[in-house]
């Protein structure tokens, strides 16, 4: 399986995701934002970080970079595109997934482990994951997912919510919502479910000596689903 990770000026999780993808069997290529052509890929990842210093709005500049036109074309033709953290912000700014990510409700940068409940397994990202709840890491200042009521209805009707913040037992309540996101949304799909944007970092959960193993679970499963 071939993957590509796009590096924007200010990306800082690009090497982490490179390590994670390789660990679980992807042949990964790093792709520079100013490149025009995307290498042949089964999966494209937009990594976390602070592309363009979060100028104007997080992800807004990166969403207009040269490589993004190829990424958008790839996604629109059914290609798997995953955006993590800043990558999620780039996805919403490019219009590949609906909504926006606002400043966290309590104006704090949040850096901690969270539990998320998988809301939809009918897709290549979460199909065959045995767990209902995964422990991932979040580190963001703008992760407060927001969309209009009409958009929310459409998202729910199309089953586009991927994961929701919850407690370790999968209970979804306000008190387990770290950043004020509507409906505890931590990640969403596009309509076709080939594009996934999420605030949590699965790539930070792949080594027992450093963290939990739920990221390993996610990546092992993902590569199997793509085969």
């Amino acid at each position: 399986m071939k993957s590509s990770v796009i590096t924007f000026p200010g990306s800082n999780c690009d090497r982490d995701i490179n390590v994670a993808l390789k660990k679980f069997g992807f042949k990964n290529k790093m792709v520079w934002h100013a490149d025009v052509e995307l290498p042949k890929s089964d999966l494209v990842v937009l990594p976390g970080g602070f592309s363009y210093g979060d100028y104007l709005r997080c992800g807004s500049m990166a969403s207009k970079s040269k490589i993004m036109q190829s990424v958008i074309n790839f996604a629109n033709s059914g290609g798997m595109v995953m955006g993590i953290c800043n990558g999620f912000q780039i996805l919403v700014e490019s219009g590949l997934v609906p909504g926006v990510l606002l400043r966290n409700k309590y104006l704090e940068f949040i850096c901690k482990n969270v539990f998320v409940k998988i809301n939809n397994k009918q897709n290549k990202y979460f199909k065959n994951v045995d767990n209902e709840v995964l422990e991932f890491h979040i580190a963001h200042n703008e992760g407060n997912y927001f969309c209009s009521n009409d958009q929310l209805k459409e998202i729910e009707d199309n089953n586009q919510i991927a994961i929701k913040y919850c407690d370790e037992n999968g209970k979804i309540e306000d008190q387990f919502n770290p950043n004020g996101s509507i409906k505890n949304i931590a990640g969403i799909f596009n309509k076709e479910k080939n594009v996934l944007g999420m605030m949590p970092h699965p790539e930070r959960m792949i080594d027992t000596s450093l963290s939990g193993e739920d990221g390993s679970l996610f990546f092992k499963n993902l590569i199997n689903n793509l085969k």
Binding site: L56, R57, S60, K64, E93, P98, G99, V100, L102, R103, N104, K105, Y106, L107, N144, F146, C147, S148, Q151, G180
Partner: protein
């Protein structure tokens, strides 16, 4: 020609920064404030000399980059 743009948050979008500014103003003794909403202001100096054309271009810029229409409104302002 210079064109200005003001970007504001839509009514139903939460503005925590505006809220904190409001609270701070209140603490400083400015007790008459009903609400504070924070926005953005841009000055765009363009080579275009035709006012209508320049404004049309700036409107396109607003839609494509300067504003995110899910949460923001834009207002283009004439400048001398």
């Amino acid at each position: 020609m210079k064109i200005s743009v003001i970007i504001t948050l839509k009514k139903d979008v939460l503005d925590p920064q505006g809220k904190v500014i409001h609270q701070t103003l209140d603490g400083m003794g400015f007790n008459d404030v009903n609400e504070v909403r924070q926005g953005k202001y841009f000055e765009i100096d363009t080579k275009e000399t035709d006012n209508d054309k320049a404004k049309a271009k700036v409107e396109e810029m607003c839609k494509k980059l300067l504003a995110n229409l899910v949460i923001e409104n834009y207002k283009i302002i004439d400048q001398k």
